[in-house]
């Protein structure tokens, strides 16, 4: 599972914080408004009830009227319902009998004790308020006030407040997202610098002054980059020193062996064959030193320059005594490529040398661009050979250092350094490409060197 990102976490924290805060405000304000509204409503209802109770008292005090008639005379509106209780009987405005349970027992007991009172009840599933007022003559006047309107208002209020709370939370998340984008912007600079260093530009540094809060990070980063470049420089100098130290004795060997070889016919047979061995090994040793140095330096940045690719390929072929007409340029390929001439020369030279050594000789040296039409600047060089091809199982490791294919082994490992293809792969990587091997249609191996961005 991928861990949740910093931005997502900060945004979530902002959202939760905003939600909690707005929820508190909402709940508190809802309760306050609700209590205020209920109290207000209750006061109004009580006032109306006393007023009505006074009317009823006055009406009843006259003759002996029909009590239902008296109640009907009250102006109660739609949301009030009045009841009168006398001598254990209930009277209402309608003729229907009144249920015993309409008025809660507790309120009845309270009014029976001569006290006025109010109680909130649920009537037909609707909230309501019952107010009881004891009247002279052992009567009790009740008024039931529907609180439905008030309840609706409160529901609406709750809805609005909830919506506001959610919006505030969303706003918090948005603020978090926005703020982290700004907070993370200096980190993008760090990432860019790190990419620069990874790409080989060791001079990349961050300016600690642009973002004072990240100065520690910038300084640590710069320190790291500095150490890296010092170490790289040390390695580079080491490679140069090694080159000098190994090449000088090799020069002596080379010159001395050539003196000996010139006099080979004057040596006895054993000495002559020993000289031959030394000469061959000196040559191999030279190749090995050159290849090792090449690998040691292969992480240096490429020096791209415009190169007429066909001429380069023909030159490489000529230098190996091959016909220049081996070179084929795929139609539609630009003439001039921007590549590191030395590296391409060496990589392709290694492929051709391998083809000569193990592949029965190159049958084609090709330059072209990939034809998938998407990656329009994917350029490649290919060397086809007439050998047995490369086994599927050997392909993943064939570009590793000191890995020799079975073809090389069968030849007694006499020539070759085991580094040729590793250098090819390094040079391809330096250009941002890859080295690959596949089957040539019709037999043999096809080595391909990808050089993206060559034009």
């Amino acid at each position: 599972m991928t861990p949740i990102g910093l931005r997502a976490r900060v945004s979530a924290a902002f959202a939760i914080g905003a939600l909690l805060l707005s929820a508190c405000v909402t709940v508190v304000s809802y309760e306050l408004i609700r209590n205020t509204l209920f109290a207000e409503r209750e006061r109004t209802a009580v006032r109306a009830t006393y007023f009505d109770a006074a009317i009823v008292t006055a009406d009843v005090a006259g003759a002996d009227p029909e009590l239902g008639e008296v109640l009907r005379g009250l102006d109660t509106g739609a949301d009030r319902y009045v009841l009168l209780h006398r001598d254990g009987r209930w009277y209402s405005r309608s003729a229907e009998p009144v249920s015993e349970t309409t008025v809660p027992a507790r309120l009845q007991a309270m009014t029976a004790g001569g006290q006025a009172g109010a109680q909130r009840v649920s009537r037909d599933g609707q909230p309501a308020l019952i107010i009881g007022v004891p009247l002279p003559g052992d009567m009790t006047f009740y008024e039931i006030v529907s609180l439905r309107e008030l309840e609706r208002t409160l529901q609406l209020l709750a809805l609005v407040l909830t919506a506001v709370a959610i919006m505030v939370a969303a706003g918090g998340a948005a603020v978090g997202w926005y703020v982290t984008r700004h907070a993370l912007r200096p980190l993008a600079a760090v990432a860019g610098a790190a990419r620069g260093i990874a790409a080989g530009d060791l001079a990349t540094r961050l300016d600690p002054d642009t973002e004072p809060d990240l100065a520690v990070l910038s300084e640590a980063f710069n320190d790291m980059a500095g150490q890296l470049s010092r170490r790289r420089e040390r390695d580079r100098r080491f490679a140069a020193d090694v080159s000098h130290e190994l090449r000088s004795p090799l020069q002596t060997l080379e010159a001395a062996v050539s003196v000996l070889e010139r006099r080979k016919d004057r040596l006895d047979e054993r000495s002559a064959s020993a000289v031959g061995l030394i000469a061959a090994e000196v040559e191999r040793f030279q190749a090995l030193v050159n290849d090792l140095l090449e690998l040691a330096r292969s992480d240096q940045p490429v020096h791209r320059e415009p190169v007429v690719i066909a001429e380069l390929l023909r030159g490489i072929c000529r230098s190996r005594g091959l016909e220049a007409d081996l070179v084929a340029i795929v139609p539609g390929t630009p003439e001039v490529w921007t590549v590191d001439r030395r590296r391409v020369e060496q990589a392709l030279g290694n492929l051709i040398d391998n083809a000569i050594r193990y592949g029965g000789g190159p049958v084609a040296v090709r330059a072209g661009r990939t034809s998938d039409g998407l990656a329009s600047d994917d350029f490649f060089l290919e060397v086809d050979d007439a050998g047995p091809g490369i086994d599927e199982v050997d392909r993943p490791t064939i570009f590793d250092r000191f890995v020799r294919g079975p073809a090389a082994g069968a030849r007694g490992a006499g020539d070759g350094t085991g580094l040729g293809l590793a250098i090819v792969a390094e040079h391809a990587a330096a250009h941002g490409g890859r080295a690959q091997v596949s089957d040539r249609p019709g037999g043999g191996a096809r080595f391909r060197l990808e050089l993206p961005g060559s034009v």
Partner: protein, 225 residues
Amino acid sequence: MTAVLLIEDDDRIRLSLTMALEDEGYTAYAVATGEEGIAEQRRRRADTVLVDLMLPGMDGYECIRQLRRDDDVPIVVVSARDDTHDIVAALEAGADDYVVKPVRVKELAARLRALRRRARTVLAPVTSVLTFGALEIRPEAGEVRLDGVAVAVTRTEFRLLCELAEHPGLVLSRQQLLQRVWEYEFGDERVVDVHVGRLRQKIEADTARPRHLVTVRGLGYKLQP
């Protein structure tokens, strides 16, 4: 017999190369320092100088500069260093060619022969003149004049200029120039670039915007009026 001066501080390399060069038919004078080399060259002029870059005392670059100040003897650097920086610096100091140790004796001999041929081509006395604006080249007389004033060029620079002058307005690639001037089958194009740079300093008013010896991007060089 062709005489070669070898300036090399490593005793064993000096000894073995001397023997190998003698096998190839050269007379070799060998010295261990740049100072000795310059003195030796003044005393007994060799036809070609081989010089190492890492020398005690005066380094190879300074040695090349001083040799070059004296005359246009072909100078070949034989060094274990193969950084672009070192190669370009040596060529800019005035070297004609650069080989990296360990060099095969046969290859070294081939380079020396090519340099000698280059040096000899200027000796035949014919008087044709190739004119490119204010620039006058007399291939057979070995003369270059700019606004009528003689310009001192080395033999390699002269061969390079003649090669371009003989193909007026035509672009010659670096590889073609390497083959024709240095007789390389295939070689290091930086040698050409540095020689072109050196020539420009001698024949161009503004080396950043050359009028005669112009670069054709990706293709090579051409000479124009």
